[in-house]
């Protein structure tokens, strides 16, 4: 087994007095696609925010390519090749579609992704490139959010509920596009409410329950019963 790209060890996260994550352990190998599932409020988004440096972590809790990134700011983490498609898209309203994509490239990393590659993936975005990002439909905005993250040419990309609020057909389009997106050695963490969707594109799955890892397993062999037990905490 290759040395993991991302190693999370005993990760805790707090919002004021409230503790949202309790000693989470997790690993992602190079080229691996990981699914994270869990009920509302389980701590999935919190985990994403901790990994990307939006929440500060204790020393040694997040290690990326052999480097302790727990204490780094989000922009420093981004420069090292971690990108996120945040929950709820969160495009920049003052920026046009094209500018939203361009700002993803701000970290200045080299790789296969540029404006043209994103437009090839999502042709509609080229037609809408000068429009305000807020004037797009939800699905189109999600495409911009994905494109924006890809423009950074990340080694590890985090997707936080990319299907949230989208029509099934759009979700299908986006998931069909995923294999073309995650390739060439890129690793991915996919947070998703739709369990079968998440399992279909991933090789391993973690389930979070009230801030703790309640299940870790192979996406192909994990049983439905194990999942519902881990998901709802029913013994």
């Amino acid at each position: 087994m290759p040395e993991p790209t991302l190693k999370i060890h005993g990760l805790n996260a707090h919002y004021g007095d409230f503790q949202a994550l309790y000693g989470v352990d997790m690993q992602v190998s190079q080229g691996e696609v990981l699914a994270i599932i869990g009920a509302n409020g389980a701590g999935k988004t919190t985990l994403m925010r901790s990994i990307t440096g939006l929440l500060s972590n204790g020393r040694g809790q997040v290690e990326y390519r052999g480097e302790d990134i727990s204490g780094l700011r989000a922009d420093q983490v981004a420069t090292r090749g971690l990108a996120m498609v945040p929950e709820g898209r969160q495009l920049f309203p003052s920026l046009s579609v094209r500018e939203n994509l361009m700002i993803g490239a701000q970290v200045g990393r080299k790789g296969p992704w540029n404006l043209k590659a994103v437009y090839d993936l999502f042709p509609i975005l080229e037609q809408r490139k000068d429009q305000a990002s807020t004037s797009l439909s939800g699905g189109q905005q999600q495409m911009v959010a994905i494109g924006r993250a890809l423009m950074a040419n990340p080694d590890l990309i985090l997707f936080d509920e990319i299907s949230l609020g989208l029509a099934p057909i759009i979700i299908k389009d986006i998931y069909d596009a995923l294999p073309g997106i995650i390739g060439e050695g890129m690793s991915a963490i996919i947070v998703e409410q739709d369990i079968s969707k998440a399992l279909s594109v991933s090789s391993r799955v973690y389930c979070l329950q009230e801030g703790r890892v309640s299940l870790e397993g192979d996406a192909n062999t994990v049983s439905r019963d194990d999942i519902s037990r881990a998901y709802f905490g029913i013994e």
Binding site: T52, G53, L54, R73, A74, D75, Q76, A78, T79, A83, M84, P86, Q90, F92, P93, S94, L95, E99, M102, I103, G104, Q106, V107, G108, A132, T134, R148, A152
Partner: protein, 287 residues
């Protein structure tokens, strides 16, 4: 003809007010910071001009090539060293801190330069005039107006056409997500303040050539700048220029009716516009 003259002179004066206001507008637009010390920073620019011109004998306009970068550096250091620490969800800390800064600046200048009124010596530029269509226009006010046009046009271009401007807008929209894009907001804020104080330096020098100044006049300049920003609509740079012009015209027309009414007329125009259009004439549309 007299009235026309008042309007034209007021428009030109508005250029200076727009320069007072541009830095204020930029800072508010990027980081929602209301800088109470802005007027005193304008005065600081004028005093730096005084020191440089008396030490080197340079013309004040040439001294700008030293003072603009110097004020830019001061701005960056001020932002990173002090103002960044005050920024958060609460609007009060930055207000209090910049108020304190204003007091410190005034007293510091008083210690260094005394309360004696000073002026920058720009030689014949101060009195030169041209006649256009029967109106006699001072070269300095005309120059000031075109500088204001160029500064605001330049800022507008920077804001909407350059990567730096894109970064400013992104950080202003959503600080967390901008940070995810590799933008360190503390640095971006530092750059915004540097740029704002660079513009402030230009305003300070032009002010110092036009009128005499002493350490206490910052507050008045802050009010003019503030009124111009509000009249034009927050976060709209061309609106800020229009706001400055409206303020300038109101003042010259007021002064024409009765010399004692100059400032009052400006404030009345401000209040009237605020009452009719609480968001200013051209509020930023994307919100």
């Amino acid at each position: 003809m007299d009235w026309l003259n008042a309007i034209v002179q007021g428009t030109l004066l508005g250029g200076l007010y727009a320069l007072f206001a541009a830095g204020l507008s930029l800072i508010f637009g990027v980081m929602r910071l209301v800088n109470i010390a802005h007027g005193d920073l304008i005065v600081l620019g004028a005093y730096l001009g005084l020191t440089v011109t008396t030490a080197t004998g340079l013309h004040p306009l040439l001294a700008l090539f030293l003072i603009v970068p110097a004020m830019g550096l001061i701005g960056y250091a001020l932002q990173r060293g002090m103002l960044n620490q005050t920024l958060g969800s609460d609007l009060l800390p930055p207000l209090l801190v910049t108020f304190g800064l204003s007091v410190i600046l005034q007293n510091g200048l008083l210690e260094l330069y005394t309360a004696d009124p000073q002026k920058l010596d720009a030689g014949s530029l101060e009195t030169a005039s041209v006649t256009v269509g029967g109106l006699s226009l001072g070269v300095l006010p005309v120059l000031t107006f075109f500088v204001a046009l160029a500064v605001i046009g330049g800022l507008q271009w920077m804001f909407y056409k350059t990567p730096l401007g894109r970064a400013f807008r992104a950080v202003s929209d959503n600080q967390d997500i901008a940070q995810l894009m590799g933008l360190n907001r503390r640095h971006i804020f530092g750059l915004a303040m540097a740029l704002a104080l660079g513009v402030t330096a230009i305003a300070g020098i032009l002010l110092g050539i036009r009128t005499s100044f002493d350490p206490s006049i910052g507050g008045g300049r802050l009010i003019f700048g503030f009124e111009a920003v509000i009249i034009g609509g927050l976060g709209n740079l061309w609106g800020t220029l229009v706001g400055g012009i409206i303020l300038g015209i109101a003042q010259t027309i007021g002064a024409k009716i009765d010399p004692g009414w100059q400032l009052l007329a400006g404030h009345i125009a401000f209040l009237v516009i605020l009452a009719v259009r609480p968001n200013g004439l051209f509020p930023r549309t994307t919100e």
